[in-house]
Amino acid sequence: MNLHDLVSQLIIDSTGSASLITPDSSLRAFLPELVICATVLAMLFVRLFRVGRYVDMFWIALAGSIAALYFAAPWDHLGAVLTADQAAHPAAVTRMEIFTGMLVYDTFSVYVRSALFLFAILFVIFTRLSGIPDHEDSPDIYTLVLGATLGMCLMVTANHLLMVFMAVEMASVPSYVLAGILKGRRQASEAALKYSVYGAGAAGVMLYGISLVAGILNTAHIPTIALTLAEKFSGGLSAVPSGELMVLALGALLISVGLAFKLSAVPFHFWCPDVFEGATAEVNAFLSVASKAAALALLVRVALGMGVIAPTGFAPGERWAKTHQNAPATTPTSTDKTTDLFYIAQEPVTAAGAAAAADSTAEPAKLPAMQSLAPVRSFTAKLIAFFAIITCTFGNLAAYGQTNIKRLLAYSTIAHAGYMMMPVAAVVAMAGIDNAGAARGIAGLAIYIAVYLFMNLGAFAVVAFLRNAMRSEEIADYAGLVRRCPLTVVCFSLILFGLIGLPPLSGFIGKFAIFASLVDGWRAVEAAGQPGFYLLLLLIVGGINTAISLFYYLRVVKVMTIDDEPADRPPLVYSDVSLAGAYLWLITLPTAGLIVAWDWLSEMADAAARNLIG
């Protein structure tokens, strides 16, 4: 193979073969991120001109996010396309490593990225309504928001340890600045300083862990890591030199420090309340939703990536090339119709058969490899379960005494991170035993992320609007608000009850889904004769925590509805019937009404989870 071949291989990888950009090329899969990049550049470019000063960056950011969501196209990839029989089609591409294995593109990444872009759209509108950032700051702030979103997308798709580190950095560093968005304020700059110092430290620790893991396995490509590990563990746990085991465990622990920091998992949560209190509610919404969703996706990628033999997928362009080789008669019009990456209707049967044959040869080799990775999975599952238990419990207990609504929501965020880590533990434990169950667990996590997006965004939106109206973020100042702005209070109460996880609010759907995955995991693991008690423990801890969390959420509701209005309340300029109010209704609507019909969400989540475990 000479240089020329390598280069042409690279071109095929990026753009697909022959035609300009085929549907299954790296660039097409990466298009949403490219749109975000273009938006950032556009905002920079517009500022160069005098006229650009008067352009409102809000519109550019909004257009960019909408375009990114459009190109991520969840309706194509997660909607009707992936119905059961089509997904069973041997030709359906379900996993693709893009950019020579740096990133991985599958339905899970489609799902989480779509959630991120949807959040970006809602977030940009939210900032517009709440007035932060103002016209002067907006180009910088939207640049940072979109830059961080770009990093988060990479976190979701990372398939290489360098990309893991880089994505975490790309998501974090702009967030440091965002925490200090009100730069004239002491609290804000303090929040930014703390966040950046702790964040950089955690990233450094994580990098050290990455270096150890990569060094002992001689690769940084995550699926290859899984293969190498399987080879190492093929003789059973006792056959591995204890020194290597120690280094591996140490590396995993150090990596988990970095992930735990992003997840604000106890004991690496300490930055969270401070940063949330110092930063504005808008930034809090961003950190607590987008950042958390991306961190969870990264956790899934790393935990499953190292503990599970990845399902076989195509390389970019491979499918396209194959289709055209085997069926030269296929007319160009058919390629025009293949806008959907995952399924090409005109797929010739021969290629399908070949793919199936390739799969079947790979299959028997995969099983023992999967088995030999069991100790890795068991270690990971228990580690995650441990973090989940302490995070959830600590978050809920610490939230109890808070008087500042942003601090309270910060602890609530910590607690929810704990809840969201629970299904990951169950999934890792179930993989290799009950793969369908593991996929359902991932789907549960995906449902929770979607539901949580609306709830937490709504909560911080209320905080921001009320801050604008009364210049206070103390819970005590919300006393008797139901007399002033009943609709907002109703929305906020619904959101808070949703955060508890009470039916019929959508928070329950998420709780139900993750608890279901825990029970499922417990059943599957016990049935396979392995100790699964920790999953049951997780379930019970989750249940008790739900009851504990009632106290502090309910206290806020109580203050707003039952308590009397203080006599000396400063004038409150806030109307329920305003654009801000309408936005709140819009955000609350899914929280309140999703229970009526959430099958579509469940189906999308199922589709998202389908291709993570082979």
Partner: protein, 660 residues
């Protein structure tokens, strides 16, 4: 002409729609809001009575095919539509003899409670909205037969109740409201865990279940899938059964000692291995056919619990305990009753009426509908615990009521005592070897419990209403500061006497039949418990009569605001009269209530008695096999049949590991 889906959906959601309508009304026009709300509750009542109770020839035929058929034991008016197919959650509503009387009771109490709400003057609009949402939640609990849906409705009524107590309650309203919320939430979280366990262990494609699918009211397409998959699994299942029999035979041999110990151990090991392989093969067939088909369908879960080996004994223990705690909190029984006095005392009068009249019944309903049929193992093994808790609640509640100074608190504790009868009646599992597996007494206990729920719904709601009437006038409830109301409010006092005596359990009033049935049924189960529960009647008479004497009789009124003691008005008299009317009616003609529940309860107890005969006591070996298959250690020397015949009481069941 209506169809069941429209009718039941309307009955459940009409209040919610009414709440939406009220939300759009201007909040100044309080009277209009009240009238609309009352209208909605009347409409619900009308739908229930007109649609389900009035015979077709009288109604002009508009409720053709909907009228509740008392001769039928199975569920009627079935609505089963797909809701969340990816989790097999259905929109499954239906009525049977257990739920129907409670639906009527709910509609009835809500109507009267709304009529009693005219005294609420604070935030009327919000009150009415929450009230209507509460009604939706309560009716929904009784009519839904999908476990998920049941759970959603169960929690739906939490929020309105929290606010209704918290905003419109008395001085310690916040404490009472959060206590109520916390207890119930804790119970329902445990319930959720049990629900999920049952869901993941259930599989409607089990070949053992095919014969019983008729009783499950599954959706046709689900049923078709289940039957097809079951047929596919049948060959593999035959292998499993054969392997199981072989294992049992090997064990028998080992016990008989026909072969050497090492040889039989080897044989058993081989048989166990074969059984495991067979089970794994069947599981592979199931997975290949797209199974296992989990379900939330309560009827299907009941059949699974009674007719298949899917829920092992351990699982049934766990689920029974978790579910029972959840329901016991609602009933409430000791030691989880402490929310009730606070909530009742602080809640406004109409809400107390609903709490006592309807909410407490949900606990009993859950136990009878879910705990026993789905987890018979747990129910059977723990029957002494359940009965013990029931009797303890009765006695404790009665003594506590005796000690109260606060009128409303006394009534609240009387609820604890009376609901103890319900738990006792449900727990009396008399269908045992010593009774010849005759379910007659148990049947009577369950009927007594059901009747007691209805009767208590009327009498306790009435009592809370009566307490509210006098509280509205003098704004205190101290029993020592009343007296002589007979002279000032004669009609009211007459009503009060009647309803209090109904609560007391005087023959001829509604409190009597239920208690009588329960005590009768217990006699066969345990004379000691029967004597204890009969003795509670004396205590009840004590606190009721004492209260009547201190409040209504006596020479003169001793408390403040004497001048406010005006005779009761027309509205109050009407409500009270209605309560008294039904208290007398049901006392004289208990059949009016019992006719609705007879068939269903007969069938349910019959089935469970059959189960007991088949699984629990007759075939110790079969059971051991089943357990061995599920990895449960063999029970301590499977109860010798002789014991039961000799009348030796059942050893108190051993606590499962970690059940507390």
């Amino acid at each position: 002409m209506l169809t069941p889906d429209v009718l039941l959906t309307l009955i459940v959601f009409l209040p919610a729609i009414g709440a939406l309508a009220v939300a759009f009304m201007p909040s100044d026009s309080k009277d209009w809001i009240r009238v609309v709300t009352l209208g909605v509750t009347i409409a619900v009542m009308a739908l229930v009575i007109g649609g389900l109770m009035v015979p077709e020839n009288l109604s002009g035929g508009w409720n053709k095919g909907l009228v509740f058929d008392t001769a039928q034991a199975d569920v009627q008016n079935v609505v089963n539509l797909p809701w969340i197919p990816s989790f097999e959650i259905d929109y499954f509503l239906a009525l049977d003899g257990i739920s129907f009387p409670l639906v009527v009771l709910t509609a009835f109490v809500c109507l009267l409670a709304m009529a009693a709400s005219w005294t609420i003057t604070k935030h009327v609009k919000a009150y009415c909205i929450l009230f209507l949402l509460l009604e939706t939640g309560m009716i929904g609990v009784f009519v839904s037969l999908d476990f998920f849906l049941f759970y959603v409705f169960w929690e739906v009524m939490l929020l309105p109740m929290y606010f209704l107590i918290g905003v419109w309650g008395g001085p310690r309203k916040e404490y009472a409201a959060i206590k109520f919320f916390l207890y119930t939430l804790l119970g329902s979280v445990l319930m959720l865990i049990a629900i999920l366990m049952l869901y993941f262990y259930s599989d409607v494609s089990d070949p053992d279940l095919v014969a019983h699918l008729d009783k499950c009211s599954l959706r046709p397409e689900v049923r078709a899938r289940a039957e097809k998959l079951a047929a596919d699994r049948l060959p593999a299942r035959d292998v499993v059964v054969a392997a199981r029999a072989k294992l049992a035979a090997a064990r028998e041999d080992a016990k008989a000692g026909t072969k050497s110990a090492a040889e039989s151990a080897k044989e058993i090991e081989a048989a166990e291995k074969a059984l495991q392989t067979a089970i794994a093969d069947e599981a592979a067939v199931t997975v290949k056919g797209g199974g296992p088909l989990h379900t939330f369908n309560i009827l299907a879960l009941q059949q699974i619990g009674q007719n298949t080996l899917q829920f092992s004994q351990t699982i049934q223990w766990w689920c029974f305990v978790l579910l029972f705690i959840g329901f016991a909190i609602k009933v409430p029984t000791i030691p989880v009753h402490t929310w009730l006095p606070d909530a009742h005392v602080e809640a406004p009068t109409p809400i107390s009426m609903i709490l006592a009249g309807v909410l407490l019944k949900m606990g009993g309903y859950g136990i009878i509908r879910i705990c026993y049929p789905i987890c018979p193992h747990g129910g059977y093994d723990l029957m002494w615990w359940v009965c013990g808790i029931g009797v303890a609640s009765m006695i404790y509640g009665a003594f506590a009521a005796l000690a109260q100074k606060d009128f409303k608190r006394m009534v609240a504790y009387s609820s604890v005592s009376h609901m103890g009868y319900v738990v006792l009646g449900l727990g009396v599992w008399s269908a045992r070897a010593e009774t010849g597996f005759n379910s007659y007494f148990w049947d009577m206990g369950v009927k007594g419990a059901m009747f007691q729920m209805i009767a208590h719904g009327i009498s306790s709601a009435g009592m809370f209403f009566l307490v509210g009437v006098v509280y509205d006038r003098v704004h205190h409830r101290n029993l020592d500061e009343f007296g002589g109301l007979f002279g000032k409010m004669p009609y009211y006092t007459a009503l009060a006497m009647g309803i209090f005596f109904a609560a007391l359990g005087l023959p001829g009033l509604c409190g009597f039949p239920g208690e009588f049935f329960v005590v009768m049924s217990v006699w066969k189960f345990s004379p000691l418990l029967a004597i204890l529960s009969a003795a509670v009647v004396v205590l009840t008479a004590g606190y009721i009569l004492w209260a009547v004497q201190r409040v209504y009789l006596g020479a003169e009124y001793k408390g403040p605001h004497e001048d406010h003691l005006t005779p009761s008005n027309f509205r109050e008299n009407t409500i009270g009269t209605v309560f008294l009317f039904f208290a007398i009616l049901f006392g004289v003609f208990p059949h009016l209530v019992l006719q609705y529940m007879d068939k269903t309860i007969d069938k349910q107890t019959k089935l469970l008695a059959n189960w007991t005969a088949a699984v629990k006591e007759a075939q110790p070996t079969g059971r051991a096999v089943g357990n061995a298959l599920r990895g449960v250690p063999p029970p301590v020397a499977a109860e010798p049949v002789g014991n039961a015949l000799r009348g030796v009481p059942e050893p108190v069941a051993v606590e499962p590991p970690g059940a507390e």
